[in-house]
Each structure stands twice: as structure tokens, then as C-alpha cells.
Symmetry: D2
Amino acid sequence: MAAIQRKIINDPVYGFITINHPLIFSIISHPYYQRLRRIKQMAMAQLVYPGAVHTRLHHSLGAYHLMNNAVIELKSKGVDISPEEEVAVKAAILLHDVGHGPYSHALEQVLVPDVHHEQLSLQIMHTLNETFNGELTLAIEIFTDQYRKPFLHQLISGQLDVDRMDYLTRDSFYSGVSEGVIGYDRILKMLVVHNGQLMIEEKGIYSVEKFLVARRQMYWQVYLHKTVLAAEKMLVKILERVRAIYRPGDDALYTQSAVDFFLGEFNGVMNAAALDKFCSLDDHDIMHAIKRWSLHPDKALSLLCHGMLNRQLYKTRIQTAPFEPAYIASQLEQISKRFHISAEESSYLCFTGEATNTLYKTIDEKINILFKDGSVRDISEVDNTLIHQNLSAPVKKNYICLFR
Amino acid sequence: MAAIQRKIINDPVYGFITINHPLIFSIISHPYYQRLRRIKQMAMAQLVYPGAVHTRLHHSLGAYHLMNNAVIELKSKGVDISPEEEVAVKAAILLHDVGHGPYSHALEQVLVPDVHHEQLSLQIMHTLNETFNGELTLAIEIFTDQYRKPFLHQLISGQLDVDRMDYLTRDSFYSGVSEGVIGYDRILKMLVVHNGQLMIEEKGIYSVEKFLVARRQMYWQVYLHKTVLAAEKMLVKILERVRAIYRPGDDALYTQSAVDFFLGEFNGVMNAAALDKFCSLDDHDIMHAIKRWSLHPDKALSLLCHGMLNRQLYKTRIQTAPFEPAYIASQLEQISKRFHISAEESSYLCFTGEATNTLYKTIDEKINILFKDGSVRDISEVDNTLIHQNLSAPVKKNYICLFR
Amino acid sequence: MAAIQRKIINDPVYGFITINHPLIFSIISHPYYQRLRRIKQMAMAQLVYPGAVHTRLHHSLGAYHLMNNAVIELKSKGVDISPEEEVAVKAAILLHDVGHGPYSHALEQVLVPDVHHEQLSLQIMHTLNETFNGELTLAIEIFTDQYRKPFLHQLISGQLDVDRMDYLTRDSFYSGVSEGVIGYDRILKMLVVHNGQLMIEEKGIYSVEKFLVARRQMYWQVYLHKTVLAAEKMLVKILERVRAIYRPGDDALYTQSAVDFFLGEFNGVMNAAALDKFCSLDDHDIMHAIKRWSLHPDKALSLLCHGMLNRQLYKTRIQTAPFEPAYIASQLEQISKRFHISAEESSYLCFTGEATNTLYKTIDEKINILFKDGSVRDISEVDNTLIHQNLSAPVKKNYICLFR
Amino acid sequence: MAAIQRKIINDPVYGFITINHPLIFSIISHPYYQRLRRIKQMAMAQLVYPGAVHTRLHHSLGAYHLMNNAVIELKSKGVDISPEEEVAVKAAILLHDVGHGPYSHALEQVLVPDVHHEQLSLQIMHTLNETFNGELTLAIEIFTDQYRKPFLHQLISGQLDVDRMDYLTRDSFYSGVSEGVIGYDRILKMLVVHNGQLMIEEKGIYSVEKFLVARRQMYWQVYLHKTVLAAEKMLVKILERVRAIYRPGDDALYTQSAVDFFLGEFNGVMNAAALDKFCSLDDHDIMHAIKRWSLHPDKALSLLCHGMLNRQLYKTRIQTAPFEPAYIASQLEQISKRFHISAEESSYLCFTGEATNTLYKTIDEKINILFKDGSVRDISEVDNTLIHQNLSAPVKKNYICLFR
């Protein structure tokens, strides 16, 4: 009998993660996947929550672990999942974030504008599928919701998918924000498949309620924390500034990495060559660039880069109403005087914008509850629940960032 | 009344860390300290334990928190600690690791040979003391054990100092290796000062015993894990290779950071200018360099750099006896043939060495137990204890690393 | 120098609880306090949550620990609390539940009708105050809100008192219902005193929100869980049945404890003698009585007692609307036939009632938030909050209990 | 398709315990099993560790949960375990402690002398097997090590059985003694079957080492804590005193429970009738008896019972050497004078004895480690291990108990 290759990985969140299928090993060993080891899951949040330095690799391993548990649970309830489907859905969850770049939510807008990370994940999955001789075909079908069993897709991407379950659990764990803790194990136990759709047993209502409240709390306390916001905006402004002053041959802007390509030659078409460059990018390229640009003669650029390195971030205020144009103008003028820079340069050091708690994922899907009498209702229609307009509606707030 | 500046920081390990003194704020805000945010505490261990990505900044904040608790505890037992001493001992613990470079234990030997990180910490503390107009003078006295109350130094550096308590607790927490968990809170409750020396109450014997066992387990399971060892040796070999092939003007070796200086011009004298360069180094410089060198024409170098990026590490074996010269020779020959490289180059891909569990800190100090009858004994002399030769003696093991 | 008596107690929830004042030692050593060791905090909940067997003694020690932390926190913020006030508020919280009887919420109604446990706590505190030569006078003033610093009373009894913080935390911990976890440490850090009143800093809004959601979840998942409800109602019905069939001289009803007195001679006046008997009651008396009554010839009584011992509880249904009289009548008839008992006896085996989530404490007080600009608002008036009518309004539900 | 009955139970230690087989439901519902709900796992330890009030029912559910995991793990490694064997080994672990009486380790010696709880467990299993029409036959074969697959028995009773894993984990959790935490999940992952015997993979050596150290720590810190010892001896002395003064017709000794039978008529033969009485005994009977006896005219008896109720325990000293007869005699005399009691009575208030850390389970079995090369060695023979004479040898200590 051939020995089954089997590996366990220590995880402070779940204890141990077990790997026991050749395809899963192949994915994890691939350089495109190993790259995720060098991309922080929570980007700049570590400037406020010093523990929040876990990686996208760790998150996707965690989501894979929850998928293992979900599959075991559903099978134990009589749901038909074949061995092929099982490995495919696990492969898909492992790869669901493989298209993320460094500081993704901040940089998607500037570095690879108009290319969403989910598209990139899919593009990379196709590339890997060639390498793996078609072994990812079923995974891709599930990932793109073209497979005949929609619940498998819903486990990967839906209101209660293992992706969200892991990122809330893990982000809460690593940041130390206990308000974000969810009862992922109880939610998993409450999963059922009814008419081919993923649902939650009636008994799980309170766990779902807690999940939604926890997510909301993570948005306001962590993802949209005003200092985290300040740091992410600072990074965006740095790259926008580089793009604005970019001239071929300005050696002091070059950084010896694919960042140069995406800020320079890149024409917006993500062909095979561009994709390969993209798959070389990680947090180190960005931070190296910032360290280098902190020495650049452009004042706005070097100020911002120094600020980022030494955690001298924008001062940020958040309010419901938009900021008065006169107020903004006076702030811009002060900054212009203080740093002896032009109005145009000042616009990188002082600006306003809108933040919304739907930044990460929209809340447009339903969470179906399966009642004991066989009826199905969305959780927002359940009696005596917290889940109402306030919770599910997107909330917009206005912010101003000021560099001092 | 002027408001006291006060900040709390979320920490998944201890809950909340409170900062409430201007000097502590100044230290934390300084670029030299913020740099620690970009240096991983456990270096390459994340290649085996994906969660082990916490930073030196986080560790030193944690040690600072434990120092707060230790001081409260000792004061509640009537130990005389003045407000000045209190802030000094906290400043000293915050800065105890400020002299660490990136991947410190691996790189100290190659990047800044013959300069120990504790010396560098002290040198940096002196520099900061000038910036802070002498406010660190008492902290430096305590750090260097020249102050008249030795127990303050022992809290920073001794067998049961808050540095070790935090790094064991934190490394165990982030790696998920539960065997390393210690009862730090109980040890803190058991601290006493007797004849000016830091000691442990009799009731704390089992907690100390557990502390020593946990440390031992962390050595063998984590710090000296054979794959962690392989990665750290790989990094050392990469830098040694760069140094060996270094020629001024080889642009493909240059990396736009202080790494260039330390592998090139640096003459071994850590003067003010060199120190400032040192204080710009962080993990990003090393990883950026590796990414760049992975494209260098030198085959040994590019092989190792690719290996590091894609987690294709040395295969390592560990055994008590040294490896046979004939065996080593045959391995070297195989490697030379396989990669078409010279014997000299092969020596970077195959080599042997000795690992010892005293790598981090030597175990030459005593842990004094204060008995109820007033007598003092070292824990190793206590009846019926686990602490004996096996535990305290250094253990040497032989390893071989092979690149395949 | 006289040694300070000092003791630390292991607590799985908080780590260690420190006792270091003679009055606190005296209270804890008193038989009236030690009695709390024999009264389960969560009464019958262990029939659903097997871990929920912690005691009222443990809860009150926990609340005392949180009070220690709250006092340290407030003092560090400049709030004036004298040593006498400090020990008084700690003594008061230790004793706040000393008037609880066994299975308190169920039995208060039957065993000592019209005597509320808070009244009894106060009566016992007065008794102890005589024993302790007036040392509890200040504690009693604070407990009864007659002291000139209302925030001290609010720490003991208010919307965010340490009593609630501990019972939510501890009940959640021991039952394993993670939905009830609150961030007690963060709430403590956010406490402030403004105009003599206890308030929460603006930054603590989300922690308070989570506290309220957690409490709500504990009500529906634990305190009002239908099987827990069934068990508590069963206990009530057992005692009501004993009272109904009570005849002096029926030896099979006597149980060798103060239960006999309270079901027999007790005239409703809680004089010194009655109070002393009350202070001998604990869970063992009730369970012993049930074991004894399970052998009594009265069929309804023995059926219910056997059911309680062997966890054959009422089947319970909960619904919003009241149950139809015809339905209830048919159920009663079935039971009467099945067990060959009269309609009167059947009424102990089948009945309906109303449950409300305000059972434990009413939500009539405000939670004041202190904003950075110095203004104070109740949390329900804060923008974009979950705390609205649904959450704060009492919810009534109808239940039916059936013994089969 | 018939619905599978399925229940999940919240457990603060493991999260959720799943029950999904009719036989398991039947066992758990049986009054003999429900009785374990009323017996504390750690007996008197709650007098020192107030959280240690969990029950034998909870422990056996926990051991059952670990057995589930162990079976899943072994099956995933290719070990052949049939569905029948699976349910049998789970039934056996659920029932392994069903023969425990209240305060078992203390009372086995006095209440049912010469009857070991494992014998009683077996006897009860046979009784239940009749009730369940032989469904427990295989479970009994495994429990008594008569089945052809010895590893199944070893999972129930061996050096690394799930019984020990659960009680160490649970006792540590509930008492808050973190030194007793073991890595049960890692040990489970490391289990293998080799030549029909249960073993541990080489990689699990450190987890086993930690398990042994943790057990040792629990002995000295908890199970043999001198105050716990004092309380257990006090209970033994109370029962011995009752037996010594027992006269038929002394109504003040009668307690309305099976305690009366076992201290009176019981002739030492555990026939069916006696067994049924034994299966009615629980903690409430003992505590009720103590409350009653505290009013008995016998002075030694009432003193000890009052002491037990109010936590006025023996003062205990522990030392390596036996106590001097002269010292004991003088203590006895003092006590005799102080309480005006005879020398015979005093012997219940002052006595010496020997405690040994093998009280619970002897350490006579081996822990086999399976090395990668296929060889098997006992852990004590492995290089560089802590497991040596000091750890494995029984340690005897002398104690004296004094009532003051």
C-alpha cells in the first residue's frame, strides 16, 4: 500500500490544519500560492493593531480548514458530495484569493486599475489549470457558479461562506478585537442543504445574528478605523503621486520590481506576461519602493513616504455630513504654506472622501433559514431579530485627511 | 489639571496594553523604534508555522506590558520602586531589542559580524538619550546593571525576565505551539525581592518548572525545528555567497538599500553613520535583495534565492553523531553533477554543522527560590524536581543541509 | 513590619483573584458566604449546558475581581476613591448576592413568596455588620445608594455594573455559549466618572453595543432556553404540589432541612430566626428533598420528582400567541387518562405561562456615553447604532409545558 | 428516509460534542448515567479551586468526544475499525466511570470498602447490557481487554487513553491551573496503530513529554494540594466516626438516603439490590448527611461536619520524613484539652498519613513511540528526554492533619 502523504500545520486559531491530497499539496507548493505568504491579510491595519500581521496564505489555509469541516458536516447530514467535488471545492477555496496584490484594497485602484482581484484569481486559476493538466476544471466551475450544485459555490462565496467565517475569526484573533469573534463552529454545525441551496437550521439563528453583528463591529472598529483609513489613503496618494510625476529615465523612481512596470509601461491589458509580473508582486515591493521614494526630491512624495515609514499618518476626521469647501480650502492653504509646496502638491496632503462599510463585500445576498416545519425565510424576516435596516444598509461617512 | 495622555493598544495575547507616560510615547514614536514593526520576531519560522509573523515591535510592547504588571505586583508587596525607576525600567525593556537587525540570529553573523545585538541596543539607547536630553540615563544604568537595585536589571535580563516571559508566551501564541505556553501571570504573582535580588516564592516552584520545560519544548519544536534551521541557513548561505562573489560595479548585486553597504564597504566599525544605516534595515530589504538576486547570473546564488522565495528549502537531517566525511563528499559530488556547478559552488548547497539549544540565551544564571522559612535555594537544588542536568545542559546536535 | 495577609485564587475566567484586606477575608470566611459555594449560579441550566455548574460564590468572587480592576482604572483616571470607599465597595459587591437561595429565580416565588433576594442580601448585610462591629456600614450605604458618590453604587448595580459583567462572562464561559462573550476588559478601560455619575467613553460604544447584544443572546439561548425553562417550572410545580398536599405529620414529606420550615410553619415574616434558617438552605436541601419525594405516594409529586432526577422534563413549546384553551383542555385530558390522575393533579403536569426576557433585571436605566466634546447622551440616541426598540423592549412569549 | 437523530451539546472545553447513535442516546438517558450529573469530578478540590465543580457526566461526555476524534484520526490513517467497533468503544468510554460513587477517591475506602470503582463500572455495564438486550456485549469485551484488537482497549485505559486526556484537560480548564494544559489535539493526531498496539508517532514525543509533565503538575498542585487533601481526609474521618458510633435506632445519624444502608446493614456483598442502592448515591446524599450530622451530639462528629460546611479544614503540613511520635502525641493532647474530648475522639481531629502521586492511576504501562524507521521504543528510552526516574517514580510524602 502506498503511503498517503499527510501533513498537519499548526494554526493558533483552529489548532491543526490537515493536508492530505496531492492536488492540495501541488497548489500550496506553487510559487503563485507561496507568494501569498508575503502579503499581509489586513494590509495597514497593523499600524493600529500591532498583532494584525497575518498573511493571505494563512487566511486561505484557514478557509480551506473550515471548508473541510463544512464538507464533513454536510456529508454527515446525508448531503451527497463526491470525492471529486470535495477536492474541487477545497482547491477553489485555497485559490479564491490568489489574485490579491499587496495592500490589495488600497492598491487595486491605482496599480491595476479596473482589474478586480476576483477576476485575477480566476485568471490565475486558469493558468494553474494548464500546469496541473486540467485537474482544476471542476474547481473553476464551482468557483464561477457554473456547477450544477450551487451550494458548493455558496460555501466559497455567499453570505455565510467559509471565506468570511475565516477572515472575521482570524482578523479578530490577530488584531485582538474580541468584538469580532463569531461562533464559526456553531454556524458550521447548523449548515444544511435544502433544494440544492445552502441554508441555516432554525437553531442557528442567534449564531447568524452574532455573525452579522460581529462583522459590523469589525468594519467600524478595524477595517474603517480612521487611522487605518489614513494609512491606506496615504499609500494610495503615494502611488498616485508617483504616477503623476512619472517620467521615463527618472532613476530615483525605479524600484527594481514589477511596481515599476505597473506604474509605467502597463497598458491595462492583463495578458500572460503582465499576469506573471503581477504574480511576483508582494508587500516587500511596496515597502521597498516607499523606502526608496522617501529619498526622492519630490517633496510631496518624500513627505508621504517618510510619514508612512515612521507612522506619521494623516490626521483624519470622520463625520456624517460632507466637509465645507471653505474649510477644506483653508486647510489646503495652511499646508501649502507650511511645507512650501504648490496647491497641486498640497492636494496629496489634504483631501476628503467617502467611506462606506460595504467596502469589502456587498450585502446583497440572502441568508436563508430553514425552519423545522420545512419553510424557508430570510433572516431579516424572522420575528424579533436585530437584523434590520440599520444593520444591513450601507452606511456612508465623510472623512478628511490632513498631513501635518 | 492637564489631561494625562493615555492610550490603550489591543493585544491578542494580554488584552490591552496601556501607555501613559510622555517618555514612553516618545520612544514608541521614534523611527528607530517604529522600524521594529518591519522586523519579524521569529524570522523564518513562519515557513513552518504560518502564524508566526508577529514583529519585534509587538514583542517589546508585550514585554513592556509584563513589566508594568511586575512593577505593580512588587510594589503591592512593599518593594520600594520610585516613579523615576518605574519609568526607567519600562523604557529599558521597550528598548532592549532595538538593536536587532532583520532575521537577526541568522544575519548577525554575516551582515554585521562580531557586533552583538545587545551592544547595538545599548549604542542606540545612547543615541536616543541625546535626543531625549538625558531622560534615558537611568534606563541605561539599569540596562547595563550598574544601578544600585539589581532586581530592576534582573526584570529585564535574567532567568525569569519579562523578555523571556513575553517571547515564550507570544511565540507560542502566534505559532500555535501550545507546548510553549507558560503561566506568566502566576510567575509574576510569585515574584519577590529578597536582599535586593529578584526571586520566586516557594509556591511558584511548579510554575517555574513549567516555564523551563516550555522553553525547552520551544527550542526543539520551533527555534531549532529542522525546516526553520534549513531556512535560516539558506539565508546565511545566500549572503555569504553574495559576499564571496562581490565585485564593485556588479549592478545585479545592488539592492538600493543599506544591505549594499554592509555587504560591501562596511569596515566593521559601527560609527554613527554606520549605525544610522543599520537603523534603516528591515525585513523588506532582505526579501527585496533575495528577489533581486534570484535573477543574478551566479547559479548557486539564484538557485538559493529562488528556493527561498518558493519555499524549496534544504532537506535537513539531524543526528547526534557527526556526519561521515565520505557521505558528505558523495552528496557534494551529486549536487555538483546535478546542477552543473563547481565544488566551491556546491558547498553552498550542501554542508554540515552543529545546532545547540543555547543558541538564544545561555542558561548560566540561577533561579532563586525563597522559602517560607527565609532560606534561598536554586531551583535545581529543590527536592523532587524535574530540573536537572538533562534540562539545563546544552545539547548539541549535528545537521546536514542538502539542496535538491 | 507586619506581613500583609494576601491570597491568590485561581480563576479560569480571569486568571487570578487577589484577596488582601482583613475585612474581605472575614466576609469570605463567614458561613453565610461559604454557603454560596453550595448554590449553583445557573440553577437548572446544567441540564442543557452540562458545564454550567459554577457557584454563586465563584460569581461573587469574580464580580469582586472586576470591581478591583474598575477601581484601579478609575483611580488612574484621577477619580477620587478613598481606601475606605475602596474596601466598602468591594465588600458590597462580594455580598450583593448573599441573599440568594437555592435555585433562586425558580424558588423565590414558592419558598419565600414576596421576599426578594436583594432585600435578603441587605438584611444579611445588616446582620453581618453587627458581627463585624460596624465595618460594613459604608458598604451598606453604597449598596442602598445612600452614599454621596452615586458612581460607587452604579458599579454594583446599574446597566453596566460588575455584577452583570461577571455573570455574562462567567455564564458564557461555563456554558460554552460563545455568543455571550463580552469585552469586559475593554468596558472597564472605558469607564469614566462625569458629574459624579458612571459613564462610558465615546470609544467604548461598540463594546457596550456588544455587551447588550450578548446579554440578549444569553437570554434567548440560555436563561430562557425552553428546556431550562421546563426544568425550572418543574421545580416550581414540585414545591407547589408539596405545599398543596402538605399535612403536618406526613413523614414522607419531611426532608430534615429548612425546606420543611419554609413549606410548613413559615408565616412569611423574615425575622432573625427565619433568616438564620434561610441561611442554611442550599442546593443539596432541594435535591435531597426531590430524591425523597420521588418515593412519596402522591402520584403527581413522585412523577415530577422522578422526572427531575432522570432528566425526563416537560416537553415545552414556545410561541408568540397564547395557546388555545381547547388545545390545553385536550392535553390535560390526555394526561389525566394516561397517568390515571385527577384533573387537579394534571394541572401540575400540563400548564401554560408567559416568559419574558426581563426576568432577571429590568432595562430601565440608561447607559450614558461621554463624548469627547463633553456632551452626554444615552446610547440609544447615538447615531447608527443597533440599540433600538427591538433590543431594549421586553419580549413576551407564551409557553406550554407537557409531561409525557 | 428516516431522519438521523442528532444532538449537539455545548462544551466550553471542546466547543461542541455530537451525539448521533441510538445506543449512545439510550446510555445517556439512563438514570444510572444521569446520576453522574450529581457527582463532582474533582470532589473537594472546589474548596481550593472554586471553579472545579464540573461533573463526572461532563467528563465522560468529554472523553466520549475525544474518542470520536481518535477514531476518525485512526480511520483516516487506514486503521480498520468497523461501525460496530466504533459504537462499542464509544459506549465503553461513556460508561467507564459509571461505577464512581460520590467523592469517590475519599469514600471508596469507607463506604464500600474493598469494592473498586472499575469493578462497579463493569457490574453496572452488565446490568445495562441486559436492559439493552445485549447491545453492550462488544463494549464490555473491549472494556475488559478481551477483544482481539487491543488498541481499542488502550484508547479507554492506557497511558495515553482518552480518559486521562479528558480529565487532565478538563480539570485544568475548570480549576484554572494552566500548568495542567496538555496538547490533546496534537496527541490525537499522533496516534497510530502498529502491530495491533496503540502508539505515538515520533513527531509526537514532545507532546507526550508535555502530557507527562502536566499530569505531574496536576498531582502536586491540585490532586494532592494540602488543603484538598485536608478536606478529603476530613470527609473520610467523618464517615469513620459515624461508623464507629453507629447504633441502630440513633435517629440523629439517619439521613434518608442509601448512605444509611452502606454505613449500617451493608455486608460487603454488592448484589443486585445493593448495586441499585449504590446507583442512587450522589454528592447531595453526602452533603445532606454532613449537614444533618453537624447537629449530632457526638462532639468529634459535629465539629468535623461544621468544619466541612464552613471550610474550617484541618491545618495540614507535608514533609518528606515521617512525623515524630512525640510531636504527634503532644498535638493530640492539646486537641483533647482544647475541645474537652477523649483521646479516642481526638484521633479524628489529629492524625498522620502518607500521600503518593500514584493515587489515581499507576504508571506501570509503557508509552510506545513508533519511529520513522519502523522501530518501537518506550519514551523513557528516547534520547535527551525529561522522562526519567524522577518523573515516573512514585513519590511518597508524609502529612499531618490538625483540627484547631
